[in-house]
């Protein structure tokens, strides 16, 4: 019961972070901008008729088995970037402001506090990710109503779309937990962001470039397989989606364990 209360408190605190609010605001502005653009680009009937991938043809929201061709897919990239920034910032700011000391004088069990913070970040990122995906898709509704169509939209399509949204939310959640854990280890937002960016954009790309056989173990490649839930046909290897998903989880576990151990053991000597 106390853990649940603490998790709710941590969620409320995270939602009070200005950066989190700004990121959500920017995402909503982005969705609105996309909606306006889609409406404008669907106005010309000739061009629109040839644009078979336009999301005003509602079936393009999600095309099952596709590798990155659906309208929904790019949202994953933005959500992952946002998740990294927000996850790292929520923790880093706590150390910078010294509120961690305040919290520990109320919640002496560090495991409980860290668990609640990680869980709250996971729940929030999943929920916010899902809502923002819905907003992103909804941005094309005016274009669909006025110029578009719903050909091919049936119950199985809705089911596939829902699963895709849940997968992207799940990826967002994993990335948030990763960012939270790295920031907990580094006790600093910038350090966490630099570490994660270096890993994802430099080290993984170097490994994938010099030793392509190891590319199947890289985070980016596995995310690219999990989102469409396809075998990864765009790569030089094939990897079942469930294996890709497990790979991501396996990556996360040691980082979470290390963060928990370090948070539980290290001194909180400065505010």
């Amino acid at each position: 019961m106390k853990f649940l209360k603490l998790t709710i408190v941590e969620m409320r605190r995270a939602l009070h972070r200005r950066l989190v609010r700004w990121m959500i605001f920017i995402a909503l502005v982005g969705c609105t901008g996309v909606g306006i653009m889609l409406f404008i680009t669907s106005r010309n009937p000739v061009k629109f008729a040839h644009d078979t991938g336009h999301p005003a043809h509602m079936a393009n929201w999600w095309i099952s088995g596709s590798d990155g061709e659906s309208f929904l897919t790019p949202s994953a990239v933005f959500l992952v970037i946002g998740a990294v920034i927000c996850g790292a910032s929520v923790i880093g700011a706590e150390w910078k402001a010294g509120t961690i000391t305040t919290m520990l004088t109320w919640v002496p069990s560090r495991l409980r506090l860290h668990g609640a913070r990680t869980l709250s970040a996971a729940i929030l990122s999943f929920a916010i990710g899902f809502v923002l995906e819905a907003m992103f898709l909804a941005s094309s509704i005016p274009a669909i109503i006025v110029h578009g169509d719903t050909v091919g939209v049936d119950a199985s399509w809705w089911g596939a779309l829902l699963l895709a949204m849940l997968r992207i939310s799940f990826i967002t959640m994993l990335v948030t937990v990763l960012a939270v854990s790295v920031a907990t280890i580094g006790r600093n937002t910038s350090a966490a962001l630099v570490a994660l960016a270096t890993w994802a954009l430099v080290i993984e790309r170097l490994i994938a470039g010099f030793w392509p056989k190891y590319a199947r173990f890289m985070i980016a490649e596995n995310v690219s397989i999990v989102v469409p839930w396809a075998e990864g046909r765009n790569f030089e290897f094939e990897r079942p989606p469930i294996v890709a998903l497990l790979t991501l989880v396996v990556y996360l576990i040691p980082v979470v364990v290390a963060a928990t151990f370090i948070f539980a053991r290290r001194d909180v000597a400065t505010t």
Binding site: K2, K5, L6, I8, V9, R12, R13, H16, R17, R18, A97, G98, T99, T101, T102, L104, T105, W106, V107, P108, S109, R265, D267, V268, A269, T271
Partner: protein, 308 residues
């Protein structure tokens, strides 16, 4: 009298970046009895905050034991913390929230209701600023908010690290009254401070530490009495004749500026005035010489700065 804080042989060693080790606390023994206000004094870097952090489980001791409210810490912190209100250095709250929201959130962790939140804010004089964002608060107001947070648990023990930091004279006076009130309510207030005049006014007992070691502890009046030389300062015009009169009566006398220092307890002042009056010498001023806590503190913590 039961001890609410018991520290035995506490040592905390930090490793510096270049590999050298330094003892922030070096074999500290301390016992804080229940009730009243206890002053924990020491110069900067003497180990006060590290001691408090060890007690509250924020840093782990290299060796030694600490117990709070009769239970060993950090092992029993989960039982102890709900009964301990604390401020460690500058109290940090969530700047984008109002004071009320901050305390409500903290209170929610322990199931403390909104009514108590308002009571705590009013107690520290922040009732009318309860709905202002903390980022608009001055340092002094943040300090008070920290105190309100500490009071929220209705604690048996208050551990306050420099609670008067950043407060203006009026604020310091308010905090002084508040701490005095807390102490008289039966709580134990453990307060570390640099403001020795304040400490002297509100504390029943003090402990002075230096370089991580306990130097002196006891009741404030006893400590000061022990440190004071029992002497009287006599202001009189004819210093040499007066000194002769007093010396012939068997008193130890020194000339100090325009005064005579007579080694005699203040209670025996009548003897001095009578001796001088009998000799036709009339004094202008007579006062007992006392040592303030500040003078005592400075005398026992004065040492050459050492390179770490």
């Amino acid at each position: 009298m039961a001890a609410v804080i018991e520290i035995e042989g506490l040592r905390k060693e930090y490793r510096l970046r270049h590999g050298k080790r330094v003892n922030a606390v070096d074999g500290l023994d301390l016992s804080v009895p229940e009730g009243g206000v206890f002053g924990f004094l020491g110069p900067n870097g003497s180990g006060k905050t590290t001691t408090i952090r060890c007690m509250l489980g924020l840093v782990s001791a290299t060796s030694g034991t600490t117990s709070v409210l009769g239970l060993p810490t950090p092992a029993e912190l989960s039982t102890v913390i709900p009964r301990v209100g604390s401020i460690v250095e500058t109290p940090a709250m969530f700047p984008t929230m109002t004071a009320r929201e901050n305390l409500e959130l903290l209170g929610a962790v322990d199931g403390i209701g909104k009514k108590r939140v308002i009571q705590s804010l009013e107690k520290v004089g922040l009732g009318d600023r309860a709905d202002h964002k903390v980022r608009t608060y001055s340092l002094g107001m943040r300090q008070r908010l920290g105190l309100a947070a500490a009071l929220l648990k209705d604690p048996a023990l208050l551990v306050l690290d420099e609670p008067a930091n950043g407060l203006d004279p009026a604020g310091i006076r308010e905090i002084r009254e508040l701490l005095r009130q807390m102490g008289s309510e039966g709580r134990t207030v453990f307060v570390s401070s640099h403001l020795l005049t304040e400490v002297e006014q509100i504390c029943d007992r003090v402990a002075i530490i230096d370089r991580g070691k306990l130097v002196l502890t006891g009741r404030v009046d006893e400590v000061l009495a022990e440190a004071s030389r029992p002497s009287l300062l006599v202001g009189i015009e004819d210093l040499s004749t007066s000194a002769g009169v007093l010396q012939r009566a068997g008193l130890s006398v020194e000339v100090e500026g325009a005064f005579l220092r007579v080694a005699i307890p203040a209670a025996d002042a009548a003897k001095v005035t009578k001796l001088l009056a009998d000799a036709g010498l009339y004094l202008n001023e007579l006062r007992s010489e006392s040592v303030s806590l500040e003078e005592l503190f400075l005398s026992i913590t004065a040492h050459e700065e050492e390179q770490l």
